[in-house]
Point group: C2
Chain length 665, copies 2
């Protein structure tokens, strides 16, 4: 390493030769799945095969050995698996993740000198070129391998060398190319020009983070009488029906004491009557704040019993984490430094002139007095509910709170409780929606509610399958929320509810429904996408057996989801051709290819629509005239499809969609 001309070894202060000599000879590029060059973790669930691809290449024609390495954080040693060539320098490998929490993976590559030798040897031998020099070089490689190893391996290599030396040329070639030689030489490989990629993080969650059906209700509305505030104890009666519909998560809006000051009345009116229950999002009163339970809902013991009872019905309770405060929240007195105050001594509240939102005030995360006490308090509130058995949080408007706060809070909670899941209720710009997933949100609300046409839906469903969305963002397709009464449903009738339910349940592994949807409730505030007599401001008893409901269909859709792995994620969705702009037609296929579901939805709730469509036989490696078996998963009918082109007729008066499983036998 002595330079011949040391005084001018390098002209360039930024790349001295000594440093260039340490640069990896093998390039490792475009590794996926990754996010922002490894700055954030990509997502997976327990039991998933994580498929990793990369471009790996070097100068010249030598054979490369490429491996994927991974470990769970806390594991001392790496696991490792070979990657295979895809062509054009592409390599692919995979590993199964078996436990929750942060993992790391990286790619390592080196020049496989023995494989390169064997490749050349075989080529020359096949071309009947003399190879005695090559055989001599090969024997030297084996000898060196024996010399640099120890113990049994060294002895085996010495034996191989001895064996080779005694053979005729053709026999030597055969022995060099034998798997036994490859295995021994691979074990002894000194990994010439080893290149290792950076380590990329991966967050592994339980499957329910990716595949779940959410049901939202206001516990206070579980009552026969609007005048009687429903309780946790009342909710027990709803559990069997929610379970029967096939839901996994039962989500409550905030269950904390509700402020009195500036309390909103029915339909968001500025003045509440003495019996109006107020919005549960105006959190905090003399009875307590985010850590407390609204006394009218019951006691902490009642809550604990409900968590247990829900679990017995296959339901996890999800709570709302809404950081805003009513003006009666104890923090205003205990921690005035967490809030912003006006020159006249009043508190700053949100405004959209001329509207004022005086019932709610927000903390200032970067106020001098809030660092770090507010952050720690909020973390402890979450952990407090985790300790009560709540492992799923729907977070209200996370995009109005600092991203570093979420990045810390989520990582911090999950370090001790990796089973905890956060759903972002953010309806904002795409960049912020994605970023919330990057900083740790398991899943997010989406634009689905406003995607109605074939073009809108096919574009959106496809985009969610592409980078960076596929790596950072799990969409939870809510068909409605207490805040969103979609315009599409105002005039669609029952068929419209079936259309949206089919799109949500088939389009994503995660979907959600706010109660009333199954009853086809849609009365809006005129001209707005809001519910008339919104449950946010009043108690709303319901008859869940009212005629015209779609409870049976929802139950069947959720049953289909459970039975078909392809439907356990929004990934693997492809739009296929159906020649009618009112019919959206897509397929979902499980990663291993074994489960293949086709979905055709008539987006027009008022008219029968027909279309020719293509069975994606090419995806299954079948010719255009192949026979396949179809099964209607809504009614169990089975048939044989002949060839690629088929037709369908979807009648909204009956069922505006078809869900078919396609198989080859």
């Amino acid at each position: 390493m002595i330079a011949e001309k040391p005084t001018e070894l390098s002209y360039n202060p930024h790349m001295p030769l000594s440093q260039a000599l340490l640069l990896p000879r093998i390039a490792i590029e475009d590794t996926m799945p990754t996010l922002d060059g490894g700055q954030f973790a990509v997502k997976a669930v327990v039991g998933q095969d994580v498929v990793v691809t990369s471009k790996v290449f070097a100068d010249g024609h030598d054979k490369l050995a490429v491996r994927i390495r991974w470990r769970a954080e806390g594991e001392e040693s790496w696991h490792s698996e070979t990657m295979g060539e895809l062509g054009n320098n592409g390599w692919q490998g995979q590993f199964r993740v078996e436990r929750q929490g942060r993992h790391l993976f990286c790619i390592e590559a080196w020049i496989d000198q023995f494989a390169s030798f064997c490749y050349e040897l075989e080529k020359k031998h096949s071309a009947r070129v003399p190879v005695s020099l090559e055989l001599q070089e090969g024997r030297t490689m084996v000898q060196h391998a024996s010399e640099r190893t120890e113990g049994q391996l060294s002895e085996q290599l010495a034996g191989l060398h001895h064996e080779l030396s005694a053979l005729l040329e053709t026999e030597q070639v055969a022995l060099f190319l034998h798997q036994r030689s490859a295995d021994l030489m691979a074990e002894a490989d000194h990994r010439a020009y080893l290149s290792i990629s950076q380590e990329y993080p991966l967050d592994v969650e339980r499957e329910i983070a990716q595949f779940a059906s959410w049901y939202e209700l206001f516990p206070r509305s579980i009552t026969d009488d609007k005048a009687r505030h429903g309780t946790f104890n009342d909710v027990h009666s709803r559990l069997p029906m929610i379970q029967d519909m096939g839901f996994d998560v039962l989500y409550f809006p905030p269950i904390h004491p509700i402020g009195r000051s500036f309390r909103k009345g029915p339909n968001n009116s500025l003045t509440a009557g003495p019996d109006d229950p107020g919005s549960p999002y105006a959190i905090g009163s003399a009875e307590g704040g985010h850590e407390a339970i609204h006394p009218q809902l019951g006691t902490r013991e009642d809550f604990r019993r409900l968590v247990v009872a829900a679990a017995e019905h296959g339901l996890e309770i999800a709570l709302d984490f809404a950081i805003q405060c009513s003006q009666d929240h104890p923090w205003l007195e205990q921690h005035p430094g967490w809030f912003n105050w006006r020159p006249d001594g009043t508190i700053k509240y949100a405004e959209n002139p001329p509207k004022k939102y005086q019932d709610i005030v927000n903390v200032d995360f970067y106020a001098a007095d809030a660092i770090p006490s507010l952050w720690v308090e909020l973390r402890d509130i979450v952990v407090g509910w985790v300790e009560e058995g709540v492992k799923i949080f729907r977070v209200d408007n996370p995009h109005t709170k600092p991203l570093p706060f979420w990045q810390w809070l989520i990582a911090d909670v999950r370090a001790l409780h990796p089973e905890v899941i956060f759903l972002a209720e953010a309806f904002t710009t795409p960049a912020m929606m994605a970023r919330l997933g990057k900083v740790g949100y398991s899943q997010s609300y989406t634009y689905f509610t406003w995607r109605n046409t074939k073009y809108e839906l096919s574009t959106y469903l496809s985009e969610l399958n592409e980078s960076p969305w596929a790596e950072c963002y799990r969409p939870n397709f809510f068909v409605n929320t207490p805040d969103i009464n979609p315009a599409f449903l105002h005039e669609s009738g029952r068929a419209g509810f079936l259309i949206r339910a089919a799109l949500a349940t088939m389009g994503s592994g995660l979907w959600g429904m706010y109660s009333g949807f199954e009853l086809c409730e849609s009365a809006p505030i005129p001209g707005k996408e809001e519910y008339l007599d919104s449950e946010k401001y009043e108690i709303r008893p319901r008859d869940f057996n009212a005629p015209g409901n779609i409870i049976a269909e929802i139950a069947q859709l959720n049953r289909i989801r459970r039975q078909n792995p392809a439907l356990h994620t929004h990934l693997g969705l492809k739009i296929y051709n159906a020649w009618n702009d009112n019919i959206l037609y897509f397929g979902k296929r499980s990663a291993d290819g074994s489960n293949f579901i086709l979905v055709a939805v008539n987006l027009d709730p008022h008219n029968v629509q027909e279309a020719s469509f293509e069975l994606p036989l090419w995806e299954m490696g079948l010719p255009d005239d192949a026979q396949t078996q179809g099964e209607d998963l809504m009614n169990g009918h089975r048939w044989t499809w002949y060839g690629k082109y088929q037709t369908t007729r979807l009648d909204p008066a009956h069922l505006p969609f078809g869900i078919w499983r396609i198989t080859t036998s």
Copy 2:
């Protein structure tokens, strides 16, 4: 910063709260142009406006201030310019680079508290909401700004505060919203929550790195008599004609002494006759190596005179940098440790069984004896030629030499000589082609030569305009090379040469031609894309006035290129609709939009083709029925186009393409 519960400040060892509090509140993402997260420099040329975009956003609704900063390496202070909003968190700014060499840029953003205040103030004032508290808050902001600044600025702010305090409310609002207040407060801004992106590198080269026409010739063929070896002095006679055709770069294959051992004869035959000149790529003989000049070409003085004469004709000489050696290269004796030797003492040469390439041997960059002496020697050879006035190098097969070597060599040479340009002659996988650009190659040979159909060409031309190609890879569209006699030209006749010339000259800022193309030479070795009687192995005198040549057309194409800035780069190309699969139709528009060229090429050299096509009026902000002016740049004809849909007829017997400039007046 004292924790309330210090023992459990953070559960997570990877993201302690103290660290989270230092994370930037403002996210800066997806900054372009960048390569591999800033690992490599993107490319620009002197005088270019570098347009930078990024996603910049934070929680909440505050107004952001976003700026782009840049400096040339070696400059002490940063330049800075505001960026403007594009919507959906997108921001864009630009800066002009005025000097060659490495530059750096980054993005900085902060919460613009005064702008946020003014936005709220204006909204409330317009909604006729009382604003006296807001005005008080605003005056306090001005007062604080005065207090934290010094000198004149502080006095001006104090003056502003004084002025405000004396005004009526409506007048105060007007003064707050006045540009003078905005300017003063911006100057005093303490840049709350300042967030700075990483620094991204940018390599600025002279314009010829992006816009140049290359002409390749073998100096030894500049002779009237195959028996008389042409010389540098003979080349002088060719300079006026090459200049007249509009070329900028005159490129010679290797000019070094040629080996005798294993010298190849005509048509790559294994045995050369005594008078066969050999391949110039078999570099090195007793007369010298890569630093030497082949004696039959002339002396060093002759070469220097030619460099000067070429410059007087507007031509830069480009040399070939081909690292391989003939077996007579002096290095084999001087530096045997730079090569690989067989067990029998012979040198290792390239083979593709049963073929042997014994006329050429390759150095081993990582041989123990080659580090670092070989690397330094190769760098010094390049610098030696730079000192002879050669600033452009065409590098033979760079993909078979280590990437770190190129990364170091190019950076090292350009640190002292930023004007030096390297062209990669790599025909290999896309990943390697791109990577060579990333590690420093200014430009590259391409797949253009094998893209013939409308689909192939439109896909390829579009891809080169997309990431990562647009940032790292400048395509030099060679229509032929001594190694590539494209199949398309074998049967195309003169029209085919015009088609390929039009595609190359209009498709990229860089194009190249190997002599003979202008004479429509295309005789192949039967069944191969190689020239019969290849000039690589023999001297080939030519009659450059032979009838049927396309010299006039090439000269006109190069003239059009010089006169139209849109044609000075491959970027800014878009494919437009022409309803005929034999007609490729595209547009090129300069970055400032002022120069807009439309090109329609009949890809069928044998038949007249007609098509309706769309004028891209939408790009010019014009309605579909707008009138535009057209000018045929090949013959100067002018006309008025009425509306969007037009037709064209392209006759290969006459001219198989149309090149039109479109303007609105």
